[in-house]
Subunit: 264 residues, 2 copies
């Protein structure tokens, strides 16, 4: 670290007098932490963020001053509770999650396994809440985890009700397969979206994992717009369809509990 000063800038991130790039770099540092690697040494932060160690070290120190990062007893770094607090206390999904939670609990108590709530963010489905039983079937999603929108039952429900330009964008891209059952051609996906809109729910056996079936329904707000997907992940057998009525009832309850928002 003798040459910390000369190492202080990454060549691909010019330092500008307006100072904008310190924010950009801070975001890259925050993005280095993942569910699999929630604690990192500064060298690893630097590598993942594409920054020199001295730069990463300086930004980590600033973020730690603000409580957005925390140092662990063994001198590694993790996301700070202040970061979680700032994000969670005014989160856009907060009122959705608050409205859904009692219904998600009831659904989980009745169906077991995994009950989850998801929203669409761009071409991904983002899981905002999940309740899991200790002996539940395998599930690849997790809270604050993402999946491409075409692979899971929640994603397919959200895509089926997304604006046409979002559907066309997803249909125009290569469709990644997770299992032999995952929908993989645009024609197949287009037919699936039409079917999901028509029947009001998606049941996708083995699309994400061969042993599991996702069953999802749309959650509509007071204006009838689809704002989320409610789903259960259950074993891939012929009882999965029995989850549809309880999901539909819970989704109606959540919709009624959502705060009424006037659209401009």
């Amino acid at each position: 670290m003798d040459n910390a000063v000369s190492m202080d800038e990454s060549p691909d991130v010019p330092r500008v007098a307006t100072g904008e790039s310190s924010l950009d770099r801070a975001v890259r540092v925050l993005e280095a932490f993942t569910p699999d690697r929630p604690e990192l040494g500064v060298t690893e932060v630097a590598r993942r963020a594409g920054l020199h160690v001295a730069t990463a070290s300086r930004i980590v120190a600033r973020l730690a001053d603000h409580g957005l990062l925390e140092r662990t007893p063994d001198r590694r770094v993790r996301i700070g509770v202040r970061m979680w607090e700032l994000a969670a206390r005014a989160s856009p999904t907060r009122s959705l999650r608050d409205a859904a939670m009692p219904y998600l609990e009831d659904l989980h108590a009745v169906v077991g396994h995994h009950a989850q709530l998801a929203v669409r963010d761009g071409d991904d489905v983002l899981f905002v809440e999940r309740l899991s039983a200790r002996d539940a079937v395998v599930n690849f999603s997790r809270i604050a985890g993402r999946l491409p929108v075409h692979v899971s039952s929640s994603g397919v429900v959200l895509l089926a009700h997304a604006p046409a330009e979002v559907q066309e964008r997803v249909l125009a891209r290569p469709l990644e397969r997770l299992t032999a059952a995952t929908v993989s051609s645009p024609a197949q996906l287009r037919a699936l979206l039409a079917q999901v809109r028509r029947q009001g729910w998606a049941l996708l056996p083995g699309f994400v994992h061969a042993d599991a079936t996702g069953v999802a329904v749309p959650v509509r707000d007071g204006l009838g717009e689809v704002v989320a997907a409610l789903s259960v992940i259950v074993p891939n057998d012929d009882r999965a369809a029995s989850a549809v009525p309880v999901l539909l009832a819970a989704a109606r309850g959540i919709g009624r509990s959502l705060p009424v928002v006037a659209r401009p």
Copy 2:
């Protein structure tokens, strides 16, 4: 906005060539959003963050580029789902919350009202999870909400097991009262902390609201250290104490479910 360039800097925040202050200002902008005001116009962001409108507008634009803020259809601004995702996916309270959730669900199903999980952050208690019944008794805490550590049952449990210097710091400060029952003298608080350590739980009738009683127990990790408080908020009547055994049992279950971490 004709003079946007000359307004571009707040006099109390000198622009420095190292660009550090753009990160500091970004944090102040993020802190402007609260549960009561999750959506703000840029002028309001500037006022709350103590920045000129043009500066706030520029920082809001950068944060929106990164998805940390989002624009609403009526041109206001709110915390973005990307901010929530970054904070939640690697949150330090994630493994605690994951371990606690099944027990919190069981507790909530049995006791009703509010079941909650909290950690200490400095001199505050921070609520990381809460399950609430629709007809539950009044509760002032909320997820990602804070209370001074001496007023609630969760806070008193966490303070009772905090390092001595934290206890002395809190005891040396004015003790804010929320009701006539809130502990308000250092001697009273010192006696309460000793009692809570001795009996293993806190039962505080009417400390936060006259109609409610908080009952809290410590959650210990595999090394016996108190890492969280588990609590229920129930009506302020003589049945509140019956929640103690189920709380103690649930806290033991959570402790066993926590990932084992080696301390350096």
